[in-house]
Symmetry: C2
Subunit: 236 residues, 2 copies
């Protein structure tokens, strides 16, 4: 059975539906999404393999998921550092940032130095609403993500990838193929081009929404908020 | 080392502080609290021991934690049923209820019948803001919780217990001693009188708040949102 994908347009619609008729608040959904991301990091990078997690956050929801994930990682015993160069004025993001400051989680402006000091990186720069061009200061950030040997977990999409068509044929993301990806709610079409380990997270989908958008609910185990799925063949 | 307790007054203050200077929203805190409750149920009542969980929800935040827990339990594969006779008009609770309805989780008015059909019960009726008298329709509900042989997990307090002084000396809760308790954020003074298994949940406390309120952050393991603590001697 194929694990079906969700187009960028439908991902947007599904989110809006969860927050209107589904009655979820964005705080709730982002908390659960960020929790999923933190669990994928825990699986990929056990504490004993190195605790220094660099979380690269973009200006939108993908960055918000990264901020939540960093908070949970701190509670698990990791040492997260945040790169968040384009901070949203939105009250929710400001609050998520404050929650990290209260844990003394450092924010850095020097991405290259932070990569050099990291054991693992979370790419929470762009998510399913990305399209078009990579704007400043992110081109060199994406190049660094592409070129580093530090393992990268991408959230929803390797940043700069086209949501439908996958890796860009030129620009800073050309050749960016991170070793791991977590798809939130459902995989986007780009996963057909993805070659690493693949997780699905966001254990809040109901059957009505899954049916309406022709999605599969992955087989989560126990209390896990994530499920690892194979990429080849997209089987569960 | 003793696991220190948090008075009802300070529990209220701490919650307010988390939501003001701590920058948490109630949606976030309730999501994490309810998630903790669901993890305690998972530990106490593995799926193979019986999936039918009756969640008794009161009119306030304790009931909200129960509603969130029930949703997570559904996602784990349990079959929750909700008893929620005094429904808050508050928009948050209405939304949490809608999220359960969308999963086809049943709501019942017949508590006695629901107890008879349950494998495990969550007592989310009254929390740390309870004091004074048990109002209708809860006296007979608390009697049923006291008298049933179905195991009960109490959230923050066995309902009807005085937060400082523990079990009431008369009324419906006289003699109510459930087999399990989950204390959210920190144990309340009543735990000195509690004889069952004891969990602490709510993995979001920062050091500043822990120090300010003279609390211990329990030793959570791995991804767990709960930690089991001994009751005798209150040791971690």
């Amino acid at each position: 059975m194929a694990l079906r994908t969700l187009s960028a347009k439908n991902a947007q619609k599904l989110d809006e539906e969860l927050m209107s008729s589904g009655a979820f608040s964005i705080d709730q959904l982002m908390e659960l999404a960020g929790l999923s991301v933190s669990q994928a990091v825990f699986k990929l990078q056990p504490l004993e393999k190195g605790k220094r997690i660099l979380v690269a956050c973009g200006p939108g929801n993908n960055g918000g998921d990264g901020l939540v994930a960093a908070r949970h990682l701190w509670h698990y015993g990791y040492e997260p550092t945040i790169y968040y160069p384009k901070q949203s004025k939105n009250e929710l993001y400001q609050r998520l940032k404050k929650q990290l400051e209260d844990l003394d989680v450092p924010f850095t402006d020097d991405f290259d130095a932070a990569v050099g000091a990291a054991d693992h990186i979370v790419d929470a720069i762009f998510g399913f609403s990305f399209s078009g061009e990579v704007r400043e200061p992110f081109p060199k950030v994406i190049q660094a993500l592409r070129d580093t040997k530090v393992p990268v977990l991408a959230v929803d999409a390797p940043s700069s990838w086209d949501i439908e068509n996958g890796p860009p044929s030129d620009g800073p993301g050309k050749g960016f193929q991170p070793p791991a990806l977590i798809s939130l709610t459902a995989p986007k079409p780009l996963v057909k081009h993805f070659k690493g380990r693949h997780f699905v997270g966001g254990r809040f989908m109901n059957k009505t929404i899954a049916e309406k958008y022709s999605l599969d609910v992955p087989k989560y185990e126990g209390l896990d908020q994530i499920a690892e799925v194979s990429v080849e063949g997209q089987k569960l």
